[in-house]
């Protein structure tokens, strides 16, 4: 993974009106606090070594009430596609899918190494997930519709998305 992949990712996100915040693991909690609006719900970050939401205002584990009333949902992001600014959300039993979907604001946490260049390059990731009976979602930009006569953002899914990029050092 080269710097330029991350730069491409950032500029694709910008085109989608999504801002990307770089943070080192040490500053993770402060970064999260600066981005979320309360109440916030999150998925425990078990798969991310050294990162946790426990010392933040983000509530875990998710409940139906939290899904319904939270302003922000915080989730891990399995892979990201630089070319399109796409977040590959890997569904899991912790609730990444609904937490990234119900609240009007989604904060996706991406590890630098998980940013890949193209749709093609996440093929292997998808293939192994599907083979194991798992599901993933490409989320590109915010939920929107043109069905009411002009483009409106924030329909059944989030109206705002933020990306937190965990840099190695």
């Amino acid at each position: 993974m080269s710097t330029s992949t991350v730069e491409t990712f950032e500029s694709s996100l910008k085109e989608l009106n999504i801002s990307m915040t770089r943070t080192e693991p040490a500053n993770f909690e402060a970064t999260i606090e600066s981005l979320v609006s309360s109440p916030a719900v999150g998925v425990p970050l078990d798969s991310y070594e050294g990162l946790s939401l426990s010392n933040t205002s983000v509530e875990t584990p998710p409940t139906p009430q939290l899904l319904k009333s939270s302003e922000t949902g915080v989730t891990p992001v399995g892979k990201a596609i630089a070319e399109y600014g796409t977040l590959v959300l890997d569904s899991d039993s912790a609730g990444t899918e609904p937490v990234g979907l119900y609240p009007p604001h989604h904060v996706g946490i991406v590890r630098e190494n998980d940013v890949l260049e193209t749709v093609d390059s996440v093929g292997r990731h998808l293939e192994s997930r599907f083979a194991a009976g798992k599901s993933s979602i490409f989320a590109t930009g915010v939920s929107s519709t043109g069905d009411m006569g002009s483009l409106v953002e924030g329909v059944h899914g989030p109206k705002n998305v933020d990306v937190v990029l965990i840099t190695d050092r």
């Binding site: 899904l67 899918e97 749709v119 083979a131 939920s143 002009s150």
Partner: protein
Amino acid sequence: MSSQRTRRRKAEQLRTLLETQSESIQKNVDHLNQARYEAVNRFERFEELRSEARKIKENSIEELPSLLETLQDQVEANGGHVYLAKDAEDANRYITNVAASKDAETLVKSKSMTTEEIEVNDALEEIGVDVWETDLGEFVLQVAEEAPSHLVGPSLHKSRDEVATLFNRVFEPDEPFETAEELTEFARDYLGDQIREADIGMTGANFILAESGTITLVTNEGNARKSAVTPNTHIAVAGVEKVIPNADTLQPFVELISKTATGQDLPQYVSMLTPPVESPTIDFDEPDAPLGSGDAEREFHLVLIDNGRMEMRDDEQLKETLYCIRCGACANSCGNFQHVGGHAFGGETYTGGIATGWEAGIEDLQTAGEFNDLCTGCSRCVNACPVKIDIPWINTVVRDRLNRERAPSDFEFLVEGLTPDSEETVDLQKRFFGNFDTVATLGSATAPVSNWLANLGPVRALMDRAFGIAPERDLPEFKRETLADWFANRGSTVPEATAERTVVLYPDVYTNYVLTNRGKAAIHTLEALGVHVELATPIESGRAPLSQGMIQTATNLAEDVAADLRPHLDEGRDLVMIEPSDLAMVRREYDKLLDADAFERLSENSYDVMEYVYGLLANGADINELAEVNDSIAYHSHCQQRTMGVDAYTEAVFEEFGVDFVTSDVECCGMAGSFGYKSQYYELSMDLGSNLAEQFEGTDRTIVASGTSCTEQLSTLFRREVTHPIEVIAPSGP
């Protein structure tokens, strides 16, 4: 019903839509088109992925039975259920049984054309299940009790004001809705409640991966995501043609579908779910218990619909329809669709150009016949389709089949001498236009008397009654001296032995009998640039009968043309053509009508006349031998010319001349061969023409068009002479 009555009824229906829906449809579709052109232009691998996607679909349909088997095994191994339904009734029986077994009271749906096809909402409501459409466009239609008018934007025939009026009447809010934001917010909250309470979530599936049992859903709103994972029970309904092998074969579609559908680089959401999904169950009745903590389990049913598809698979001509990923680009790129939308240009479920294939396959020929004539064969959809379906050809094939079923008319005696294709059942209007070469030969032989006669009131009335020729239209004026006569008397002025190049010029029917000046201009130009010209025998290319669905007649003509041209090609002559629709025959449609060798030989050696001139100039021919061009020009190229990408040569030649010119950018002039002459379509044709008229409104430039139809349409619109580009640059000569 008499043919004339049928035609009047059709005209009436189109008129109503032009008055009520046209504005909204045009606005929305224009926007989709613009975005599509931009998305495709900035995506370098578009053509490469189209070919890939096409191959994947070809292979998948070929191997469908074994893919279905793999899929069924895999879904069951994953813990889901698969039901292969032979038709709508069968599917609905299964689905209502599942609903009953769950004691379901409500079901939420995301957008799915296939569920429209089987009318599952009615079946569910009959057993007391409340069904809610969660796609906002579908929701609008559910509230309005209307049918979708577009594959992707089902309610795009409705303006915001209309939706606001509808919602204010039905939902009686305290503060009336006005803006799109207010309407969206209301619908989201309203449907959000329904989704949380629903017992079952129903989705379609854009693609299904056989090897893993993964279904792919493409949405922008996020409603499919919610509908699929909020209720514990998920039913996915899809046509059998949606199955492809695996994630690898999914990739090109993911990158293509929204580019051609809405002009977005990727859809907002592509859900790739391998159900029953791992996401925890969500019980809104236990608001504070962590997700997934109850003992509820997820249940998944995949209902695969045949409903005629397996028969389509065995039908060499209709089979291609099954490759369709329902992106709607063929509708958006279609001039007629832009003006009347899917309520006219569509059948029971499907809309736009490809609807002919779908409706013929899943309903019947007659259903497709209701709207099939709205495809004029302009071919603007051909380059738009992400899976390279030859949509005009499917329309032609269905037209041909319909022709064979039609009952003979009372006016049969009028068309003696007009080839009735293989059987005498083609309707008279189609036979008249399909045999335009015969009409032209007679007209020319008896000109100018035939021209005077044809324009007399009683004759026009009879023409309307018998053939449905719109009395408002000027008829072509046949020349007594045809181009072939003129050339036979005059001969060539550049001897073949000394010429740099030699060509055989094809005198299409219009050039030969009506617009002879453009033929002479072509000869003068070529000769001035040192080219020896031979004139081919004037044999109609087959375009006229093909456009009427008379494939046999068209094939016979194509073979005659090929036989006539063969010796010329043997002599090493290049084939030069003036009429773009005939060039398109040779380059595209002959592929279907002739054997591969004959087709390749003709298509590879054929040139648009301006393309040829461009080539000559680029290879050192002296532009000073041609006319001096001082006029500024308004140029309208031809739909099929654009599909072939040869319009650029005319513009390039104008540039060589330093001409000040503007070009139109409408998809179609509206005339489209015989279409604009037909009384039932006259108004629609003029409505399309008005867009073109707007582009050149008030211009004092010389109006120039490449195609005959466009020339006629523009002459009607502007009441002045419209010439071919070759006439602009041709030097005078003998």
